[in-house]
Symmetry: C2
Subunit: 202 residues, 2 copies
């Protein structure tokens, strides 16, 4: 019952709390905003986005877990970011420019997602201009998250990156396989295993 309820009536509270972190909406603005959201569920291993597709929506996770990654010529996977409850995911560049993406976004668990399309978002900006501010803040945050990630991955050793990851996303480490974490950290699963052993022995 509980389960089914979940799947038929999405929990809008999470996204409203998320928006509310940066802008305040009145009753009618809330209703209008919610009316533009499309609710979708993705099973484990389903794709929210695939390379060559245009990213047509901004996506907010209300339940579940995703990974955003590319495959290089040799088939090696590079994980750009994970996503969990209360996170916005997507390919921002593809979305803004409406050009084909180069990313996969894949559900790592059964996931519930709220989507808003580019055209609806543009309408929303026109009708409720504060949303420009909200999405500009998202863009800025994405930008510096990316910047920090560059600096960290380049400046820190594998061990430091791992410790940093565990500290920053303690719950994620539980939810993900070691292989996923290793790929994200850009080290081999073998080396991550060695690292963890070394660290617990201390």
């Amino acid at each position: 019952m509980q389960q089914l309820d979940h799947l038929t009536t999405p929990n809008f509270e999470i996204i409203l709390a998320n928006v509310n972190k940066h802008i305040h909406l009145d009753r009618t603005e809330v209703d209008y905003f919610l009316s533009l959201l499309q609710y979708k569920t993705f099973k484990k291993k389903e794709f929210i986005l695939r390379p060559s597709e245009i990213c047509r929506t901004e996506n907010f996770i209300i339940r579940g877990c995703t990974k955003t990654y590319t495959l290089n010529e040799l088939g090696a996977e590079h994980i750009v970011m994970f996503g969990v409850e209360d996170w916005w995911i997507g390919d921002l560049y593809s979305f803004l420019s409406q050009t084909p993406s180069t990313y996969y976004i894949e559900a790592l668990e059964e996931s519930e997602i709220l989507q808003i399309s580019k055209s609806d978002l543009d309408t929303l900006y026109a009708r409720v201009p504060k949303f420009e501010r909200f999405f500009r803040i998202l863009l800025q945050n994405a930008f510096i998250a990316q910047q920090k990630r560059i600096e960290q991955t380049l400046a820190l050793t594998a061990e430091e990156r791992y410790l940093d990851f565990v500290q920053k996303y303690p719950s994620l480490e539980q939810r993900l396989s070691q292989k996923q974490v290793a790929t994200y950290l850009r080290i081999t699963p073998v080396f991550l295993s060695m690292l963890r052993k070394r660290l617990t022995q201390r």
Copy 2:
């Protein structure tokens, strides 16, 4: 004479050609845009921005060369990007959010720069809305340049990164010391020297 002329009457042609790549302006729009630009020169080793300062302007290089970098706790320098003629530089995050920067931007050669302040830019948006498009494109480009840089630096070997750099910015390699290039590529000058020797021997 030639020299002095340079320093007193900035060459606006370069920035107009740059803007013209993305939006088209009529005569009065051009004049208005130019009226908002402030012309400044920086001597070699002078700073255009320093950590803890708020980045109050967008900066367009009409002559010269700059580097944008941070110093970590150990005093190690991390070069985020170089800038040359026809490039926009600055700390986009600090500029957009008007919060203190963490970057140094330093002139590597005597440089001529055109600046537009945040407040003038906001006025410009209001009066000539196409500029929103122009600066949004700049932001998007900065975003993907950054994204590509992450992916490349993480996915490629030092040798591949070096070859890529030389191919992408052939003129930059001439202008910069090997130490600067090595720092940008995140390898030691010693190793870059070895790499170059190895490559010329082939």
